[in-house]
Subunit: 177 residues, 2 copies
Amino acid sequence: MCFLERGYHQTGVRDIATRAGVSLGNLYNHFRGKHDVLVEIAMLERREMEPFLKILNSNTPAPKVLKKFIRAYAKYLAAPENVILTLEISSEAVRQPDIARLFVENRSSLTDALETVVRRGITDGDLRAVPDPLQASQLVIEVLEGSAYRSVLSEIPMTRVIGCTEDFILNSLLMRQ
Amino acid sequence: MCFLERGYHQTGVRDIATRAGVSLGNLYNHFRGKHDVLVEIAMLERREMEPFLKILNSNTPAPKVLKKFIRAYAKYLAAPENVILTLEISSEAVRQPDIARLFVENRSSLTDALETVVRRGITDGDLRAVPDPLQASQLVIEVLEGSAYRSVLSEIPMTRVIGCTEDFILNSLLMRQ
DNA sequence: ATATTATGAACGATCGTTCGTTCAATATGA
DNA sequence: TCATATTGAACGAACGATCGTTCATAATAT
């Protein structure tokens, strides 16, 4: 996908059409315009979250689910294209309300699932009683993506970064015996 | 500044010149091109970090410095324009090496100072012995900026978010008595 | 034969950049 | 001191390229 190489605004509709194996005019038979292509991509991202939702919906103890999720999501973010795409969508979301809506929706699907895990962890006495489980969940995602961006920019593989990140998250959330 | 309203690639050189109170042609007497304008802006961001460096260079106990820094940096990020500008530069950094260099440099000035605070906190027994103080510092910055972006996108004021964020950071780093 | 899909030339707009020109300020020579 | 030469900042018209989009036409399927 060419938004990754050049960025959304740098990519011409002709590039998009060519890379999609479609003629320029025909692209407009499938999309109302360039903007809708980005919307479509943002919607496709939603599906990518399903494996992680599956992990989070498990009923095993919260710390175990949390660790498994962190590893899995980190692995997903180890692919720079996923990080860059998220960044691309993030920076469009600032100015385009419908992209923002999609972005927040995608994000919510993750954080909501994570929130219930955190809540269960708290009632089970496995996790610290954080003041706001939803915000804590959002912070977890943000830490992971922040680390991933840093790994892309510094060209340090995610595997060299994730250990510290996991340590940071778990030490904030886990109840200490 | 107009990169904030429309984004770097959406903003024409004519807009930049007009907003700067300079004619189109004259802008090219001061900058080699549009790219150099962004470079200049990225370099100006460096100066904005100086107050925070001052805070971090204090010799008071690490937890105190840490809290003060978190509050101050959060206040800075409470202004959406600062968040958006950072995001704008971030997404350019992915594809433009010189922007990336500047971005990493700016970031390092913060994280390096924060790292020494964390190290001092550990030796003083105030902070948990994190596996990698530099990475821990980078994570602190990333959490703060992640929260700030969320606050912009969800139109929730930073003041409503920072409490949880601070709690998240401190519970990860502070030694528990 | 009719409906649907695919095509790329063409459009007007805007892009980043260049360039010839103007002109006030400064330096130089008398 | 006055006249002349030199400088470089400021300007905006103009350039070629590319932008997103439209549309008349051609191919294909029903």
